[in-house]
């Protein structure tokens, strides 16, 4: 059976195929990862030693702002959407996503959104410089003219994410093969389903926040301006009502990935499947009632602070359940250490370290000392880089043979892993120390007492950045140059799931023409 698809550029422009769209999401995300990473290099170069060496403070602020926005909205989120596109139809026994044209549209909005955002770098007054959290009034009354481009860009990203999320929800509820009950779905599908609900619920809130900014800036409203009866703190409440679930939007798919990879290489079933599902759902629920832990210093009433502190600490319980279940899955397994497994194990350990600092930050009285220091920077980079990004890398290595029909270069991939893990810790671990010692976030220069830790962080960051070119080379070698031995249909000895048991490698263009039978 020949797969019908247009040739050349129109294949990609007009495609409605979940695999092509997934590929485009992943490629786009990798480009953004390199651009956002280049900005991180500028930041770390400036912070290599005390004094102002390379950039003006204002440009430094533009770099931290764009680095955050690009990594969150351009790299991590599109990467997980790309994985969802590739994997969900194959995992539930469907031919494609439920809404293929919308799928095309939700991808193609993204390049436009990021061209808008990046073009602000070349505008008079410079790019947005108020941090990725864009607190009012720094972003409203005091924002540069390019803020309006940022607002429009965020709207577009939001529309794209909401459409992508609706597609996942509709696909999961309508396209499952006969016998694939909800509680038989792979955990990646579950975590993405829950992620999709979070997206649909909070992206409109973000859109509301930027719209209020727009009217404050141009149409005489005072949502966030006390002089007109508004409140700058209200901005933070609205932002973090979006922002905290957003954290889980970025990490839940990685939970699903770890739950697929660890059983495969342990040659043992996932421990506690149903408690994994319930834990994910509880985390998602709790993510809606903890937002103000990002704002313990704004002067909330004590009772409010107590509520948010206790609710936040509760998140440690379901998260702990997940970590223990992964370990129990490995327990008495028959473990081998191919690259995806190495990344998955690193994910569990380093994400948990980020979780520990999360518990510390949850305690309001001590948070007064941690808040807005490098300790926070260390915390969220631990859950994002070795968390979300290592999760994505694990997924790419794990499913690439299924996608391309070829094994990647295992030796190079291991080098990539070991370099990444050394440098990721060298970059972010010292930030705990500089933060505790008293270095505040988002500054281009610092006192000499922080100079050693900053130097180590910078060296680590340069190494981490360079290492990713090795990843790029491994991808090019496998996907483009088509080097590497042929993958078997099952790919990995212990792999389960419809994509490994019912589809050849590479998987056909339209995954399942006839639904498989699941028992």
């Amino acid at each position: 059976m020949a797969d019908h698809k247009p040739k050349g550029i129109s294949r990609w422009l007009f495609t409605t195929n979940h695999k092509d769209i997934g590929t485009m999401y992943l490629v786009f995300s990798f480009i953004m990862f390199l651009i956002g990473g280049a900005m991180a290099m500028v930041i770390r170069a400036e912070l290599f030693q005390p004094g102002l060496q390379f950039v003006e403070p204002n440009f430094f602020n533009q770099m931290t702002t764009l680095h955050g926005l690009i990594m969150v909205f351009g790299a991590v989120m599109p990467a997980t959407v790309g994985l969802a596109n590739w994997l969900i139809p194959m995992m539930i026994g469907a031919p494609d996503m439920a809404l293929p044209r919308m799928n095309n549209w939700s991808f193609w909005i993204l390049p436009a959104a990021f061209i808008l955002l990046l073009s602000s770098l070349f505008m008079e007054g410079g790019a947005p410089n108020f941090g990725w959290t864009f607190y009012a009034p720094l972003s409203t009354t005091y924002g540069p003219p390019s803020t309006d481009f940022f607002i429009f860009g965020v709207h577009l990203m939001g529309i794209s994410s909401i459409m992508g999320a609706i597609n996942v929800i509709v696909t999961v509820f309508n396209m499952r093969a006969p016998g694939m009950t909800l509680m038989k779905m792979p955990l990646f599908v579950w975590t993405w389903l829950i992620t999709a609900f979070l997206l649909v619920m909070v992206m409109p809130v973000l859109a509301g926040a930027v719209t209020m900014m727009l009217t404050d800036r141009h149409f005489g409203t005072s949502f966030f301006d006390a002089a007109g009866g508004g409140d700058p703190v209200m901005f933070q409440h609205i932002f973090w009502f979006f922002g905290h679930p957003e954290v889980y939007i970025m990490i839940l798919p990685a939970f699903g990935i770890a739950s697929a990879i660890i059983p495969t290489f342990s040659r043992k079933k996932l421990f506690g499947y149903s408690s994994m599902v319930y834990a994910t759902a509880s985390i998602a629920f709790l993510s809606f009632i903890v937002w103000a832990h990002h704002m313990f210093t704004v002067g909330m009433p004590v009772k409010g602070e107590l509520f948010f502190m206790v609710a936040t600490m509760l998140i440690a319980v379901p998260t702990g359940v997940k970590v223990f279940n992964w370990i129990a899955t490995m327990w008495q397994g028959s473990i081998t250490y191919e690259t995806p497994m190495l990344y998955a194990i690193a994910f569990v350990i380093l994400f948990t370290i980020g979780g520990f600092s999360g518990v510390m930050l949850a305690l309001t009285p001590v948070d007064w000392q941690y808040h807005d220091t490098y300790f926070v920077v260390a915390h969220f980079h631990y859950v994002l880089f070795p968390g979300a990004i290592f999760g994505t890398m694990a997924a790419v290595y794990y499913w690439m043979p299924k996608w391309t029909g070829r094994m990647y270069d295992e030796k190079l991939a291991k080098v990539h892993f070991w370099l990444s893990i050394v440098f990721v810790n060298l970059t972010f671990f010292p930030m705990h120390f500089s933060g505790l010692a008293g270095m505040q976030r988002r500054v281009p220069d610092y006192n000499i007492m922080f100079s050693d830790f900053n130097m180590w962080s910078s060296i680590g960051a340069f190494g981490l950045g360079l290492t990713q070119f090795l990843f790029l080379w491994i991808l090019i070698k496998t996907c483009w140059l088509k080097k590497g031995e042929k993958a078997t249909d099952q790919v990995w000895e212990g792999a389960e799931g419809l994509e490994f048991t019912h589809l050849p490698s590479p998987a056909p263009y339209h995954s399942f023409d006839t639904p498989p039978k699941v028992d």
Partner: protein, 389 residues
């Protein structure tokens, strides 16, 4: 396995290198000097050790499994995939640990938030990019209120710029680099001091780690926070909330004095405030020297030391407001009252008449502007008080 060993060795070597390389630098939260900050520190240490113990147990189990249950040792995997008992155990135990942590945290927080019955009150106001401190008189007599601005010191400013010569070898060695100001906040030892924290423009955050005090300064709202320091000394902090370009350059210095010394200091300030502004006539040379110093301190951060401006901050060279015919009035007006909706602040309340006169004279005659205009403190005083032209 040999690759694994090599990498493990490399990691261990690196860790040792990092730890020894940093041994002379602070790597932990400071204990601070107040009762509260010490309690915060011990809660911090408790939660760290709780995390370390849980981490060692969890990761220990994981590493044991990684080693003992690898395929070459354990070719036949076990078949179990759930156990209600252990799942209940590892849900309940974390829950209990969290409650045990929450109890002291709740108690401490309630104590920290109790700013009632202060001995004295200081208003702290964040500006882009400086702090203003206002001492509110205990007897509610506004004529005894004292207020002043606190800016980054000139030495730090100079060093930051010198280091900008792309690794020229100018190494910064000043241990108070970026942590020194011209006028520190002064408070008495042994007194409960309440800070009313607010901001003029954007959100700032008043943070003094040694007191475990951090409170956001929010324009249009007033937050309360308090401290009681028993040990006289000098304590340093920073603005903790991103507030624009010079967020990293607005330190906080708190000088804690014995009660008697503090009283003497305050009396001196009240006296100075009551004596009125210095409006003596100055020569052109005096105005230019004073003007250059004041310009570099208050204006150069945005308009640059060479007056050329930077991005959204306009150049002052040959501009209509600065060199235009009969533009002196407009020029003074902008410096006194600022430009609404832009980063140009109103300096009328921040600087003395003499400083403003000197700055304006300097701007109109430096960098080839050469207008020959001379502005005297009296002119500024008149304009400020409704007179002038």
């Amino acid at each position: 396995m040999s690759l694994f060993r090599k990498v493990a060795l490399a990691v261990a070597a690196l860790a040792v290198l990092v730890l020894t390389g940093c041994s002379d630098q602070a790597y932990n939260m400071r204990e601070g000097v107040t009762e509260i900050s010490k309690e915060v520190y011990s809660l911090h240490m408790i939660v760290i050790w709780v995390c370390v113990v849980i981490g060692v147990l969890t990761f220990g189990a994981m590493f044991y499994s990684m080693f003992a249950h690898r395929k070459s040792k354990n070719p036949n995997p076990a078949k179990f995939s759930h156990s209600t008992t252990v799942e209940i155990i590892w849900t309940v135990i974390p829950f209990i640990i969290l409650i045990a942590l929450a109890v002291p945290a709740v108690k401490l927080l309630i104590k920290m938030e109790d700013s009632s019955n202060p001995d004295m009150t200081v208003m702290v106001k964040g500006w882009q990019w400086k702090w203003e401190y206002k001492y509110i008189d205990g007897d509610n007599d506004p004529s005894n209120d004292v207020s002043f601005f606190s800016n980054l010191d000139d030495a730090s400013r100079q060093q930051a710029l010198n280091a900008g010569k792309y690794f020229s070898g100018t190494k910064i060695e000043d241990e108070n680099y970026l942590l020194e100001v011209d006028n520190p906040l002064v408070i008495p030892a042994g007194q409960k001091v309440r800070f009313l924290v607010t901001a003029e423009d954007v959100i700032h955050s008043f943070w003094v780690p040694d007191f475990s005090v951090k409170k956001d300064a929010i324009p249009g709202f007033i937050n309360e926070v308090w401290t009681k320091v028993d040990e006289p000394g000098i304590y340093r902090g920073v603005c903790a909330e991103l507030c624009g370009k010079d967020h990293g350059f607005m330190p906080i210095v708190v000088k804690v004095l014995e009660q008697a010394e503090y009283d003497a200091w305050l009396a001196e300030q009240v006296e100075a405030a009551k004596s009125g502004p210095d409006l003596n006539e100055r020569t052109m040379a005096q105005l230019m020297t004073e003007g250059e110093a004041a310009y570099n301190k208050y204006c150069a951060a945005c308009h640059m030391p060479n007056g050329q401006g930077n991005g959204p901050f306009p150049s002052l060279i040959g501009t209509e407001v600065v060199t235009g015919e009969g533009s002196v009035g407009k020029h003074i007006d902008i410096v006194l009252n600022g430009v609404p909706g832009t980063a140009m602040q109103a300096f009328g309340a921040q600087l003395t008449e003499a400083e403003i006169a000197a700055i304006i004279t300097y701007e109109r005659n430096a960098w080839g502007n050469d207008t020959g205009d001379k502005v005297q403190p009296q002119d500024i005083y008149d304009m400020k008080n409704g007179g002038g032209e």
